[in-house]
Amino acid sequence: MQLEPPVTISPTLATLAATEAEEPAQEQSAVTECPHAKQAEQPKPKQPLRVMFWHLDELGGGFHRSTDRPDWAIAAYAELIRVLKPDIVVLAGLQRTRGAVPVPVDAKVPHLVMEETAVDSGVTEAKRILARLQSLDGGAGWTARFVTASDGSHVYQFDSTTCVLHRTDGGITFKRVEVVDSAFTPKLGLTGKLAQAIFDAPKQRDEPVHVVAPLGVIDERRLVRDGPPARDPDTEPEATGELADTSIFALSAPGDLRAGGAFGGFRAQVDALYRLPSSEGSVLRDDHWKTVGEQHGALLANYAAVGLDDLLLQDEHMHWEALTPPSHARKLDEVRGRLADAVLICHGRTTGKPNIEGLRVVDLVRAALTAKLLAEADADQQSSTDDSLPSEDGALADQQQAFRADRQAPKPADDLANALAACRYFSHALSGHWPVITQIRWS
């Protein structure tokens, strides 16, 4: 997915960023080393640590999604994690469902009593993902950790929570999850509380590894409609720890992270290592006719509502001669979106800086396309993979077929634009946000 508007990098920024990326030359020692001196033993190189972050958009139910995700969606989440082989996965957007439910009553006369309650439906869904992952990737020893209070109850901020999955076969051991106070910046997705998971990963780092993400998420639609959510100090969880000076920090914003200067200021504040901005987005832009349909309520017929993945049908019925024909993406580099999700590598020290070997958005359209369609849509072979991270190409093609079968919708005309639209539709059914994955290595 390409960012819209595209990223531009000034020569000044490129020059300074190049000097930041380069490891400075060793300073000349004032003392010449004896040629016969015994060489000190070189420390064993550390293994890389791979971390994935995915905002699963109302997992467990919300205004736009049901309480239970279909089996193909659960299978898709687990399959993508299996293919990308992360050591730690942060899942955000786990909702709890509020509502009135019947409660058992002990009375002679049968009657119905309803009680307002909250159900940990997002946590239940996360456990379904875990169970699927354990069956797919049995040897990895996957386990899930949630943010819980001392009484074992799940901790939420704005009715959503965050969980961490990690594999135990590589010697990574979980220590604890802390709640940490943070700034409340809704446009960056900062809810005022962070979940900080602490791991011992001796093969990757001598010190504990801290993985941080906001506790809960800010809902984009509510933010637009009602403004920032009101905070209630009485119900907010208490902080149980402090933010580490070195951490892997994930965040998911309700809007465009690039809008305004807040994201840059925040990255400087948390000592995030600098990387030149990438051209990848993590949230898809709506299709032409979906946008038209949402902006013009007086449409006589909205064929986008009939089939989001049949662009030719929409063109046929919704376009008229006076309008410029809409252009649809027929190549992968024509798929447009915005940046809402990021993983930052924060390091507030001068020594022991981790090296970022890979950091990118996982392309769910590439993952959903079959090999044949991928070859057509990506004729220039602009693979989104780099050397350090596995490819997601075609990983979810089976789940996309299951999604199509589940919908029982008429098959759209064979066209590359429709095929890409179907993949976008499928990716949105999984989550509005695409995952971000990184691989880092401490020296």
């Binding site: 920024l13 300073e27 003392v31 600098y274």
Partner: protein, 139 residues
């Protein structure tokens, strides 16, 4: 040169019980290091030419030397004494140039922020803030 460190040198003291012959404080050591770097600007000139060729060409040899010298002195004032840190400070100086709009005045605050005791960390933070500021201005 790495012989200079920011910590006082214990080697200049005699063993316990004797009168100390010479004691050098960190600030004095910094001044000595700055002086040494000013006498040998070659590594800084080489760094500047390698990473900022266009700026160096625009400045010319004489002015480049003056910029490097001024950067070493100014960097020393911020507690930067190692060649590595001064090269990284020189990057900032060469990138923002004269800053006639005083757009980057905040750099001085970051580089002399007493809340962060390590001058190297202050420099890291200044560079990152500058990078993020430049990014916000061009994207």
């Amino acid at each position: 040169m790495s012989v200079f460190t920011s910590a006082p040198l214990a080697a200049y003291h005699r063993p316990e019980g004797d009168t100390a012959l010479l004691s050098i404080r960190s600030s004095q050591l910094g001044i000595l290091a700055t002086d040494l770097h000013r006498r040998n600007p070659a590594p800084f000139l080489s760094h500047a030419r390698r990473h900022h060729p266009e700026r160096c060409a625009a400045l010319g040899e004489v002015e480049l030397l003056a910029v490097v010298d001024a950067a070493i002195v100014r960097g020393g004032g911020y507690g930067l004494t190692s060649q590595r840190d001064l090269c990284r400070f020189l990057d900032i100086v060469l990138v923002i140039g004269d800053d006639p709009q005083r757009e980057f005045d905040w750099l001085d605050e970051v580089l002399s922020n007493p809340a962060t005791t390590d001058p190297g960390l202050r420099l890291d933070r200044a560079r990152r803030r500058l990078l993020y500021a430049l990014e916000a201005g061009c994207s």
